[in-house]
Symmetry: C2
Subunit: 497 residues, 2 copies
């Protein structure tokens, strides 16, 4: 048996000795029942104090690897299962680095097949990422100061025992902001801080729906909504939208028993459609009549470049059936991961009591700093700055598309939002899966319109997120996109998938 | 029709006029089709510029509330559903356009000040909360500085596009810490930052189990584990533990088809049992033989007051079947909400690719600061300080219990952890539901042993979390507990529930 000590390894001698004896037992170099050399002999061989050897052996006795036999020293334990005592296989010690990947269930294998390779290096900035704000606009030094101030001496409600709906100051700041900016009154008590819009949808659906109940979603729509409903054991019922947005009449025809509608009336994702006032009132009338619930997703309602927005459903709701959702992550920076939901007033008290059972709370770390950021006017100022920035970017995309994509794709302007939809010109056939792949190869990360359909895609198109694309990159990226598509366009037409 | 303007409300006149006309239409004071007064007349009555009235009417036309009739002025729209036009019910004003929205800065500041008072107000500290660290021990001023430094100029990988497993620096710091403190080597690439132990269990079970597959859990055990498995559509199979901890043999007898075991070998929750080495090796042998997986929950393994801990399962695992879980929230402060999972090496690459589909990422805001906290040695120093503190608190609880609970409850010491288990003395009958209620009335928040059983509770007892209970509060709280139980004890015995 060899025990080699390495005085420079930074590991105490006692632990080195114990570790190597343990390995010798597990690898059968010291077979079950075999007696260990005396502590005196080991100390002499290892050139260390005998007390150190005895301490190591005490550790192994405590761990059960060796047993002390009165009068006859210590021996390797006999009661370790045989399988574990087999000699280690080649490569197994290093975490089975060379071994074939383990068998995984069908669900995971399917996910793996669908997953794109994750880039491990520094993410090269790509043009047109969806849902990402400008990288330079957010005032991080100010944010850092607010964080520092918040955490210097936090109360225990912040550090240890927060309200189930989140930071009280942030909830008050959100309520005040909505009153001023979105034109409806709500109480801080109705505001729940969440880590994302999807979490909010899941939480609300869990609270108001029986498992297996149906919920209307917009077709096309944000794919995350359907996933969020399924996480709440609800069954999404897609309702095709038209030029006036979501229609309660069409929804009732499609799934008359639904008890929840999830809609984006102020700016539909991804098409940008604005739900008309009669449609809004009809949906509210349904909710009141049928005892239904409405989730109003207003996630980029802050960016409106032309005209005045319609009153949110929440502002028109007389009967307390609307939950209103907004997100900060897409407006400030993505890893903030803070969104909010304004509950229908009658639900605030009961959901507070059951919140812990419905959902994990959003991380509290940034909530106090965000409260100050809003209350001190920095949030409104940031929105004003970025509104000008993004309006100009949208114009730049429309202009560049008119120059370079003519004859292939039409990119009309939108009254608001952070992205545009490029649709094939008349007579042009677009396979948006192939087009996004071709664009990706040219470092243009456009998203596909067709994935926003839950059923068969009624249209193909490309989604261009312009908010996070610097001014100078827009025209070159549109040119690269045009080149990538021109090559595809010249290739033989392929059927849509 | 009355329109009253309030120049001091901080709301632009144009929006006040539009808001009140909107309310008049919705409340039928202006019935569908009714013509509005001329803009000239309204301006004269309201004593404001005619342009302001025209702008308000333009807004209402854009919103669809009023329609312009060429040559004959404007009228309330006819196409609003009747139901919405009914007079508002008493008390249904929330969200109706009548009330002017509040001005932002003053009210926000006031609300924030009020909220702050609530946050820092006297949340009555209760004795013996479970899973809570000491309130004073964590160095918040240092933490605030680390946060400030991290967020002053964050890279975009921190602010916008993090790795799906979390902050690279934190993952490296965790790997290095585990090598030094827990005696096993792992790579940063295998470390996933999660928001809690439950999230980690759900994530891992989703990746390795087919829906409906069975997973062994300890009986009794942490109730969150069963909930986390159910969230992954796995079926928990409780396996009673004995004095040597979880037994693979008993587990195979109970549910031979299980493919996952979730265990806490170093310090069982709630009993404190340490899983023996032969049991550890037998469980590992099962995993290797059957292609099973093990989740090793080591959430309070850092607190060990006597003897040396056994090697973790992860350190003994030769075949890459063990995921190791640890938590920072219980060691530092609860709202940190950061935990970690070290994946079996063969699963690191495949799970990286499907992570986005399996689980929401943990909040990134504190991860960089925590990385520095660990790497600069503050974490190890904090553990050393609190280990001394908590060991003394455990002794104080044991001593106080021996004085005041004799004849009712026995509270033996534990080799580690952050709580103790009080069990009824021989001949004493304890209903722990009634006992916790009686204790709560005396401001002693003990938890129940019986809720840790998934099946019928084999034992009743009280769980006393001592780590977060200040030294001076321990003896008085034990006395209050004794008084509360003595009253109950004197009352007629009740059957267990």
């Amino acid at each position: 048996m060899r025990v080699a000590l390495d005085g420079g390894a930074g590991v105490p001698l006692r632990r080195q000795i114990a570790g190597q004896l343990r390995a010798a037992i597990l690898e059968r170099r010291l077979p079950p029942g075999a007696r260990l050399p005396s502590s005196r002999r080991m100390a002499a061989e290892l050139n260390c104090a005998r007390g150190t050897v005895l301490a190591a052996i005490d550790d192994l006795i405590a761990e059960g690897y060796v047993v002390a036999r009165p009068g006859s020293g210590v021996a390797a334990a006999a009661n370790l299962p045989d399988e574990m005592l087999a000699p280690p296989r080649a490569g197994a010690a290093a975490g089975a680095a060379g071994a074939p990947p383990p068998a995984l269930p069908a669900r995971t294998t399917a996910l793996l097949a669908a997953a794109r390779d994750v880039a491990s290096g520094p993410a090269a900035p790509v043009a047109f990422p969806l849902g990402q704000p400008d990288r330079e606009a957010f005032p991080f030094p100010l944010w850092a100061k607010l964080l520092e101030r918040e955490w210097r001496r936090p109360g225990w409600q912040v550090a240890g025992a927060p309200h189930p709906f989140g930071h009280a100051g942030l909830r008050a700041a959100i309520a005040a902001y909505l009153g001023a900016a979105r034109g409806f009154a709500c109480e801080a008590a109705e505001v729940v801080v969440t880590s994302g819009v999807q979490q909010a949808v899941t939480l609300f659906a869990r609270a108001v729906l029986e498992p297996g109940a149906r919920a209307w979603i917009e077709e096309p729509g944000y794919p995350g909504v359907a996933a969020a409903l399924e996480a709440a054991e609800a069954v999404p019922a897609p309702v095709p939208i038209d030029a006036a947005g979501f229609s309660a009449e069409a929804a009732l025809a499609a799934a008359p028993d639904a008890r929840l509608a999830v809609v984006a009336p102020s700016h539909h994702f991804p098409l940008g459609t604005v739900m008309s006032l009669p449609r809004r009132l009809a949906l509210l009338a349904w909710a009141e009549r049928a005892g239904g619930w409405i989730v109003e997703d207003d996630f980029d309602g802050e960016y409106r470049y032309a005209g005045r927005p319609l009153a949110p459903l929440r502002a028109l709701d007389r009967s307390g059936r609307v939950a209103y959702l907004g997100s900060f992550s897409k407006l400030l920076f993505p890893t903030l991961r803070l969104s909010f939901m304004v509950l229908p007033p009658p639900l605030a008290a009961p959901m507070e009591r059951v919140m812990a059972a419905l959902s994990a709370p959003a991380a509290l770390l940034g909530q106090g700093a965000l409260a100050r950021f809003i209350a001190d006017g920095h949030f409104a100022a940031h929105l004003r700055r970025t509104r000008v920035l993004y309006a100009a970017r949208q114009e730049a995309v429309v202009a560049a598309a008119a120059r370079h994509l003519r004859g292939m794709l039409a990119v009309p302007p939108d009254v608001g939002g952070m992205h545009l939809v490029a649709r094939p010109d008349a007579g042009v056939r677009l396979d948006d899966r192939a087009a996004t792949a071709a664009a990706g190869a040219a470092c243009v990360r456009v998203a596909r319109l067709s994935v926003c359909y839950r059923g068969e895609a009624a249209a193909h198109g490309l989604l261009l997120g312009y908010a996070g694309t610097p001014d100078a990159d827009i025209e070159p990226a549109i040119r690269r996109l045009a080149d990538a598509l021109a090559v595809r366009h010249a290739a033989p037409a392929r059927p849509r998938d």
